[in-house]
Assembly symmetry: C2
Homo-oligomer: 339 residues x 2
């Protein structure tokens, strides 16, 4: 019961009350005044201890931060402005007050920079494990949003940022609990690379500005966020658009740190990019005629976008072109958020 | 993975797509077109196995039905029209496909009669226990809603329906797993009473029409739904309104079945009414001048409302008047949804 009192106090402390929030925490429902016509975007995620996160290797703050970011990324992929957050927690008996505080701190560190207001939620006991449900509401202008289903044959396929960093960071975090991680002092893989990759896992950034740009400038024909890895999420976009795709492995954008890490570990860096989840970059498609426009606007705004392939007919399937020019089916691999 | 494919199939099967739903299940977020000014009401509940429900005594269908009803009841207490539902499930390995189907069936049996559309959700594995998160969105006209914080000293306190039935039903369900429940054949407690009370627990009804009536006719000054029991929920309303309350125990509305059950079990029926949760009736306050109006309109609409007390100043606390005229503090008891 003390736990619940703390959460009420935290919720009130962190609760935002922008002008359109008529009623936040403290009633049977949160109330928002929808005054002007808009499209409302609603996404919800339920995260389970031992499945999506491991409290033995991640701090509650990091868990909270990443839980919020996963939902911010969904809203980013719609081209929407994230606005209102509801958090439900089921808390096991061993979870201490300082952990709850840390979890909320992480959630708010992710949300505050985007002006997202905490308006409601629910708290209960859990007999086993921590469960976090987040519901996030965003808005766009009426009639204007990015969907998964708009890709057309011939469209170019782009991604923002670099891929695979988060998975590399996760592997490094898992190793660092065991010993001897910095054995090869002659290796070009430096502590700065390690820190960069770990941060990309622990503190990912949803591409909210990029999503809004693509939506408002009507540049993208379809979009999805990369939460399960390129291989899985490209498949979702293709299914919804009823198209195939051809990806050039050599074009996948990789950070220097990820490349050097992959060499150091004798892994194909493309493998990290294809299967690594939780990068929270955007994957989008656009008509080929807009390519120079996209690249010019991205440069002007300081956004990093890379064309990695082309949309093919549905019967083509989803294939990848390797460095030696051979084209083969992309393996169906799904990122498990935590093993 | 088969489980997830089933849920996708079920979700598509049960998904509603009213005209205002631009995009339901299948994208990064559900999209709703908010065309006219309105107030949006958002509520979320996370239900944990072993805390809120017990799959040894309740069917997955009943669990789904009651999970939806708990949220419908929150929307009813705001005087809102329930519209859009998102369901997140964390499913343990032992939970079979037929159970998932049954859970969805229950959810939809609760929602369909009210025209609520399933527009999104999330599914994941759970290492331990079933977890269900529901997010429900309702609407009212702009500027028109019932809140917990509007009660004024001197207002009358009302409840809809009858109280304590659900707790009596739960006790009967718990007994019926043990033997010898119908021993006293001379008792006036009949199988019909038993069935009525069990149904009130397994198939409660949120007072959605009553809530909309009270809101649209501007009759109530404050409202809350009875999910934790009168004792607890009256306290929430009084806290938010910064008032006290005096309840007359003799006036608490009890069903004939609940009265006879209480006699049969030698319990004070008022005790069931005060502490029994999950009745999903509405508790509301109204200016004394509106009493005849409320009673006349309720009769005309076939609604059951009972005046059970009066709002007192905050310093008065929350007290109850017993049959012999003594007034004493109402014990702070909180209903545990499942023990």
């Amino acid at each position: 019961m003390e736990e619940f009192a703390l959460i009420r106090a935290l919720a009130h402390r962190f609760a935002g009350k922008p002008s359109r929030v008529v009623r936040g925490i403290g009633d049977d429902a949160a109330v928002i005044a929808a005054t002007t016509p808009a499209w409302w975007h609603v996404t919800t995620d339920l995260l389970a201890e031992g499945v999506h996160f491991d409290l033995r290797t991640a701090s509650p703050e990091s868990v909270g931060y990443r839980a919020a970011m996963a939902n911010l990324s969904d809203i980013a992929a719609m081209g929407a402005i994230p606005r209102y957050l509801l958090i439900s927690l089921a808390i096991p008996s061993g979870f201490r007050q300082k952990h709850t505080f840390s979890l909320y701190t992480g959630l708010m560190k992710a949300c505050r920079p985007h002006g997202v207001a905490l308006i409601g939620g629910d708290t209960s006991a859990s007999r086993s494990g921590l469960f976090i449900n987040i519901t996030l509401i965003g808005t766009t202008a009426s009639g204007l949003a990015l969907f998964r289903h708009g890709a057309r044959v011939g469209d170019h396929i782009y991604v923002t940022g670099t891929l695979g960093d988060s998975l590399a960071g996760l592997q490094l975090l898992e190793q660092s609990s065991s010993k001897g991680s910095a054995r090869h002092s002659a290796s070009p893989f430096r502590p700065a690379h390690r820190r960069f990759l770990m941060q990309r896992h622990l503190r990912p950034s949803a591409r909210i500005k990029e999503g809004q740009w693509l939506n408002n400038a009507r540049l993208a024909t379809a979009a999805i966020d990369l939460s399960d890895g390129l291989s899985g999420d490209l498949r979702h976009l293709c299914e919804e658009s009823r198209v195939g795709a051809e990806i050039e492995l050599d074009k996948l954008p990789l950070s220097a740190a990820c490349r050097i890490y992959a060499e150091h570990r004798c892994i194909q860096p493309a493998q990290l990019a294809l299967t690594g989840g939780e990068d929270y970059e955007l994957l989008f498609t656009a008509h080929p005629a807009t390519r120079s426009n996209i690249e010019r606007q991205a440069r002007a705004r300081g956004f990093h976008v890379t064309c990695i392939g082309i949309v093919r007919p549905h019967r083509f399937g989803i294939r990848m072109k390797t460095g030696d020019g051979t084209v083969r089916p992309m393996p169906l691999t799904s990122y498990e958020h935590f093993r």
